[in-house]
């Protein structure tokens, strides 16, 4: 007993290892990744902080149930490849999740160590193990079941699609992933910026799947180039639809079509997928604002604001109609944005955009808000303050207030039942849709959520597809 107590005290004595990062004044002007990553020594030190709980809360806190104490123990022992392999059992994209998961509300949020002090840095350790294996590993492939002769088409190569592909290829099925863009990765490539998730990591994860036998077809717009029924006619036995949300939401206020008002989707796609931040070496241009306003306060808003800063803005403002508590972005992103000099105009909402004679934006009119009673989402509803109108100058506005359901695929597939917002109705436990042989998951079912939730949906659907291919619908 006494010995155990001594051990515990020791563990608590090790502080949470900080993640080394590029200094804010340097990184705000470059596109290199912000966190630099743990060294093997810091990773092993941090791994010692884990209590190796018998009933670990963190595993339940993870949407894909990664064996968190298990992989941390491997790191502690110095077996980094073993840690990566353990991660892969449940998570086909650990290098991605270590970087973009909202750990504070998942695994780290329920970590026992965090009850008294700082939780174990699970995300940082996950990232470390995956990076170590990618750089130093022998590229050993995960075990694969004998071929079943069944063919599965996965529509969309974002996080949920890749999870399904990775799971089903391991179970011996033939998998083809169809991607509408010219590069695979979905939101990981067009949405999340380089400084948060280097594209090389995404491509090496995808290349790893190709090595395992997953086939990839880019430039394939399902609903246009090919329909779901045609896929079945081509011999596919099952189809997974993970096309993402992908319909930009605008504010529906006057002046929205002025030049310099962009959806975050457009702004980030230009910057990330088309690499407009390297213009003119890459041919796609982007509006380089000096006074930039970003509307919204989610992860996409933070990404847009920080991209604008890196593209040379003098000032970048996040304009949000609620208060700091309601901001939906990951804590680390809000913190990083603040460090990089991004200003927050909370309890503020635009009422109209103002432009010059050439149709370019010059500013916007805003109203101050105050918080009233909670609304359906449980967050306190913003109410305009009378007489609080004021004007804000800007030459670029990025609208990052969420996304809707893109109807391109669903329009061409009438058998898929949709809810009233246009999202596909799928069984939350299996991902089954109302059309036989078709599963769906990720943002096209739930609306805008996170990478890991989309992966969780992919995991469940992959299990269900596997059962279907073995036993039937």
């Amino acid at each position: 007993m006494a010995e155990e107590e001594v051990k515990k005290v020791k563990k608590e004595a090790i502080p949470r290892q900080p993640m080394p990062e590029q200094a804010p004044e340097v990184r705000r002007r470059n596109f290199k990744e912000v966190p630099i990553g743990y060294t093997p020594e810091t990773a092993m030190l941090e791994a010692q902080r884990c209590l190796q709980c018998k009933k670990p809360g963190c595993v339940d806190g993870c949407p894909v149930q990664v064996d968190i104490p298990g992989f941390i123990n491997q790191i502690k022992e110095g077996n980094f490849s073993g840690a990566a392999r353990l991660l892969w059992q449940k998570n086909s994209l650990p290098a991605v999740c270590g970087r973009v998961c909202p750990q504070e509300v998942q695994c780290e949020g329920v970590c026992i160590v965090g009850k008294k002090g700082q939780p174990v840095a699970i995300g940082n350790l996950e990232r470390f193990a995956a990076d170590y294996e990618r750089i130093n590993g022998k590229g050993e492939l995960p075990p694969k079941a004998p071929p079943t002769g069944k063919k599965v088409a996965v529509v969309g190569s974002g996080p949920s699609g890749l999870t399904v592909a990775g799971d089903l290829i391991a179970k011996g099925h033939e998998v083809t992933v169809l991607e509408a863009f010219h590069k695979p990765g979905g939101v990981l490539v067009y949405g999340i910026p380089e400084f948060r998730l280097p594209k090389e990591i995404v491509f090496s994860e995808v290349a790893f799947m190709e090595k395992q036998g997953v086939k990839l077809e880019c430039n394939s717009v399902v609903g246009r180039t090919v329909t779901l029924d045609e896929l079945f006619a081509q011999g596919y036995n099952a189809v997974y639809v993970g096309v993402g949300a992908g319909l930009p939401t605008f504010m529906n206020i006057p002046g929205e079509n002025l030049i310099g008002v962009l959806s975050a989707n457009e702004y980030l796609t230009r910057a990330n997928l088309m690499k407009a931040y390297l213009f003119p070496e890459y041919d796609t241009p982007i509006v380089k604002g000096k006074n930039v306003v970003v509307l919204g306060a989610g992860n996409v808003a933070m990404d847009s604001a920080r991209t604008a800063m890196r593209l040379g803005a003098d000032n970048v403002k996040i304009v949000y109609r609620r208060s700091k508590q309601e901001m939906p972005a990951r804590k680390a992103e809000i913190h990083h944005a603040g460090e990089e000099g991004i200003e927050f105009f909370l309890l503020t909402a635009p009422t109209r955009f103002l432009g010059d004679e050439k149709g370019r934006i010059t500013g916007m009119e805003c109203l101050k808000m105050e918080l009233g009673e909670p609304d359906q989402s449980g967050r306190r509803r913003p109410i305009p303050v009378k007489g609080s109108e004021f004007k804000m100058d800007c030459d670029l506005v990025i609208v990052a207030v969420g996304a809707g359901a893109n109807p391109l695929l669903t329009q061409s597939t009438p058998e898929l039942s949709l809810n009233k917002r246009g999202y596909i109705i799928a069984d939350p436990e299996t991902g089954k849709t109302t059309k036989k042989g078709v599963w769906a998951g990720g943002d096209i079912v739930t609306g805008s959520a996170t990478v890991i939730l989309a992966m969780g949906a992919g995991r469940k659907a992959a299990d269900s597809i596997h059962n279907y291919l073995k036993w039937g619908w």
Binding site: E179, A180, F181, H182, K183, P184, K199, E200, F203, V206, A207, E210, K215, L216, E217, C218, N219, S220, V221, R224, T225, V226, G246, L247, P248, F250, E256, N257, I259, G260, L262, S263, N265, E266, T269, R270, M274, K275, L278, F279, P280, E281, Y282, D283, T284, P285, V287, K358, G359, N406, P407, L408
Partner: protein
């Protein structure tokens, strides 16, 4: 199968190296050019491209997005023709900036890295009676398959095509074959009717019972065609080509005001009711990146002199 290739480009502005990671799923595929023609004194290029999946699906009025190489832009182009048997599509474009200048350098046997489509809604083709198809500049290329389809549907099709001068006129023979009668106009009078297409259109509207007008060309032309047909209360379709990235309704860059409502040209169009389109707003939005385009084109021209 080689799916990853790395390259390095030197960035002069800040004297640094940029690593390019090229990732091509499924190895290096290419959409090969099987036929290439220069028109209008080399200012307009025709490319017939191998794209069997698209060729099987495409209908008149739909477009593709094409991208020449790794660092290239995604450019929307409405298809001028398709050959499902041969598995090819045809695009015709005018050289207006860096990307189209780069396209022009591609020879037969070379190809585009990416061709995506068919995108947008097809033209609604039905038998109405007398139909007038008005085309200006490279808009004639887009108009041609629609004209042909309208004629095949049993309409009496009157074609009106125009250009600044005779040398810039394209597809006259093809349009003649696709319509029941063809009228040609040039702004400088070097060929056909001396004047604008709208003048000939007015005559048609005054003398015939026209059921539908399809107008495709530069935005000002479509604006004035629509203005005129509105006076005669004749239904008019125009095909728009605003700035676009994905072409699948994801970015909203191609938004255009139609009847006071915001529409996405890529998924709601590219064809719209000509009487409802806000042409001035469309023209302004087309200028969004004109400075960057000039810079890019200037550098490209210097390098290729």
């Amino acid at each position: 199968m080689k799916s990853r290739i790395s390259g390095i480009i030197w960035r002069e502005k800040d004297n640094c190296r940029i690593n390019i990671i090229i990732y091509r799923a499924g190895g290096l595929k290419m959409f090969k050019i099987v036929k290439r023609e220069e028109m209008a004194g080399g200012t307009v290029i025709l490319n017939e491209i191998e794209a069997p999946l698209i060729a099987q699906k495409a209908k008149p009025g739909q477009f593709v997005i094409i991208k020449a190489n790794e660092t290239g832009e995604r450019i929307p182009l409405t298809m001028a023709d398709t050959d499902p048997k041969k598995g090819t599509i045809t695009v015709i474009y005018m050289i207006v900036g860096k990307s189209t200048a780069l396209f022009k350098t591609l020879k037969v046997g070379e190809g585009y890295q990416d061709v995506i489509g068919p995108l947008g809604k097809p033209t609604h083709v039905e038998k109405l009676g007398t139909v007038v198809c008005v085309g200006g500049g490279t808009g004639v290329a887009v108009l041609h398959p629609i004209t042909r389809a309208l004629k095949e549907a049993g309409n009496h099709v009157i074609g009106i095509i125009g250009a600044r001068n005779k040398g810039l006129l394209i597809l006259e023979e093809q349009m003649k074959a696709a319509s029941n009668e063809l009228h040609v106009c040039t702004d400088d009078g070097s060929y056909g009717h001396h004047g604008f297409v709208t003048e000939v259109l007015k005559k048609m509207l005054e003398t015939k019972e026209v059921k539908l007008v399809v107008g495709i060309g530069p935005v000002p032309m479509m604006k004035f065609v629509s203005k005129m047909t509105k006076e005669f209360n004749v239904k008019t379709l125009v095909s728009l080509n605003p700035i676009m990235i994905d072409g699948t309704g994801m970015c909203g860059g191609c938004r255009v005001s139609v009847g006071g409502e915001t529409k996405f040209a890529c998924v709601d169009g590219p064809e719209f009711d000509g009487h409802q389109v806000d042409y001035d707003g469309l023209m302004q939005r087309l200028q969004a990146y004109c400075d960057e385009e000039k810079e890019c084109y200037g550098t490209f021209c210097k390098l290729n002199q």
